[in-house]
Structures are given as C-alpha cells and as structure tokens.
C-alpha cells in the first residue's frame, strides 16, 4: 500500500467566512448596519425587536431576517409591526444561521431602501457564536430570569459579541438575579462589552437602546457616503 499525504490546512469555516465578507461588503456599500441578535431561546429577542419596530419603524427603514428551527412565528410577529418585508429563514433543524442563508435573505431585500438590518438568529447560546453572518456586531441578550453565570457557561458567545442587552428588567424585583454579579461575569469574559438594560414590556431602558440604534444608522450612512 502506498499512502500519500495531502497537506490541506484549510479552515472549515472558510467558505462561510468568504460569503460573510461578501454580505458585509454589500451592506457597507449600501450604508446598512447589520446587527445579529443571539441568545438562548426565550430571552426576548423578538419582543425587543417588536418594541423597536413600534418605536423606530416610522423614523428609519428597518429590514429584518429571522431564523428559527421550525415555524415562521417570530417573522409573523415582527411582520405585524412593519409594512416592510420580514425574511424568515426556517433552518429545518440546524441550530444557527449561516452566511449563505443571510445572503439569500438579503438578496430579496432592497438595501438601497434600508437603513438598518436586524438578523434574529436561532435561539442558541453555543453554535451561532461561531458563524459570521456579515454583521457589524453581535448583540447578545440575556434575561434576568436566567442565571447570572450565563457568560461563564457560554463564554464564546459573550466573547464574540460587542453588545449585551439584559432583558425583562421589569421582573428584577421578583427574581433572585444579581445584576452586578452578572455584569462582572460578562466583563470577565469580554471587558469591552457594552450593556443595555431593557424591558420590552414596560419600555424601561428602551430610549437608550433606540439612541444607540440611531447612532448606528447615522454612522452607517456616513461611512457609505
């Protein structure tokens, strides 16, 4: 038997990253900042986006891509808050969105008629951390009904995110969640994380979030002009 060794040294994510770079370039040319929302299931991604569409939908042109393992329920909820196209990606079992799916989704969008793109990833705190979708930043959500040690249990997601949103803050008086402890854990994983504290139910903390999004849109437009 003659065994020949072929040196490959190829990153398995190379194809995904190549497509993601294309998506990022396309969005940059159009001046559209894209945020990739990641969290465990039930942390409030869709509720945050519903409230955001309600408040900012008349002020800026927001497009949305949602990812779910099954059903278009999240896309339907968001479509009820906007007259614009909401692209639903049903992964059929896959635990994350990949760049090819986002590329197909944005192909159906008019980026010249878009100021801001939200990508609501599949609820999962592990796999989506590894997949670049061409976004400007990942936004990780975790709710006060979850443990403070989520950042320690899922460091990849918190390390790869730029922003963190603590959600369901209205429930804080009713749950044994120590905000300072959660922030310390998150900062121990990623000292650069910027935090928001929101309740999509009461509107608490949402103005700060909206101002941040306005800044993202201004920066995106300025970079493209």
């Amino acid at each position: 038997m003659t065994v020949r060794t072929i040196e490959v040294r190829e990153r398995v994510m190379a194809k995904n990253d190549e497509i993601a770079a294309g998506v990022r370039g396309q969005l940059a040319v159009a001046g559209v900042p894209a945020l990739n929302f990641v969290s465990s299931p039930g942390s409030g991604k869709t509720a945050l986006l519903e409230r955001t569409l309600d408040a900012l939908g008349g002020e800026m042109r927001i497009s949305v891509v949602t990812g779910d393992v099954q059903t278009q329920n999240d896309a339907d909820r968001l479509a009820a808050r906007t007259t614009r196209l909401v692209q639903a990606v049903v992964t059929g079992g896959a635990c994350h969105l990949d760049a090819r799916q986002v590329q197909h989704a944005i192909d159906a969008l008019d980026l010249d008629d878009t100021d801001l793109l939200f990508i609501e990833n599949v609820g999962n705190l592990v796999c989506p951390a590894s997949w670049d979708l061409g976004e400007n930043a990942k936004v990780v959500l975790f709710s006060v009904t979850e443990g403070e040690d989520k950042p320690l249990k899922y460091p990849g997601m918190f390390r790869n995110s730029t922003y963190a949103v603590l959600t369901k803050m209205d429930l804080l008086p009713h749950v044994p969640f120590d905000v300072e402890r959660a922030l310390a854990f998150a900062r121990s994983v990623n000292p650069e994380l910027r935090f928001f504290f929101t309740s999509a139910l009461t509107g608490e903390g949402m103005e700060s979030w909206f101002d941040f999004l306005r800044g993202q849109v201004r920066a995106g437009a300025a970079a493209a002009s």
Partner: protein, 83 residues
C-alpha cells in the same frame, strides 16, 4: 446538528482536494479542532465517522488533533494510491 454540518463541510473540502472518483481511496482525515471552536469533539468524531463510512468515501478514519484557539481546520488527507 452543528457538528454534523461542520463534518459535512470537512467532507466537502476533502473531496475538493481529491481527484474525481478517488474518494474511496481516502484512508485518513486529519482535522485540527481548536479548544474554543465550540465543538463537542466526540459528537464531531461520530459524525465524521458516519459520513466517511458512506459513499463516495470508503471508510476513511478521522484523526482529531486538539489545538489552541477558535479554528476548525482540515489539516491533511491520507490517500492509498494503490486503491
């Protein structure tokens, strides 16, 4: 599912480095798995074994090489040129 989709991508890359029709001669697939790659190694190995046991492959063995960092990399292929 995460590990299976990555294993499928390993197989796609492996095939792209082989001459057409020779995937059945593949004997070993060396894969570097970074400790921060968010991969459950035993599950990933199982997925690779299952895929490499089915056509067009002919029972190649995965060799997992633990390494530092976030990357997952197809490192090398071993091919039996005598078939």
């Amino acid at each position: 599912m995460h590990e299976l989709s990555l294993a499928l991508e390993v197989c796609r890359i492996a095939e792209s480095h082989l001459e057409p029709g020779t995937a059945g001669r593949l004997r070993k697939v060396g894969v570097e798995v970074g400790q921060d790659a968010n991969i459950e190694v035993e599950n990933f190995r199982f997925c690779l074994e299952a895929l490499l046991d089915a056509p067009p492959f002919g029972g190649a063995v995965p060799s997992i090489i633990p390494c530092a960092g976030p990357d997952l990399r197809l490192a090398y292929l071993e091919v039996d040129d005598d078939g």
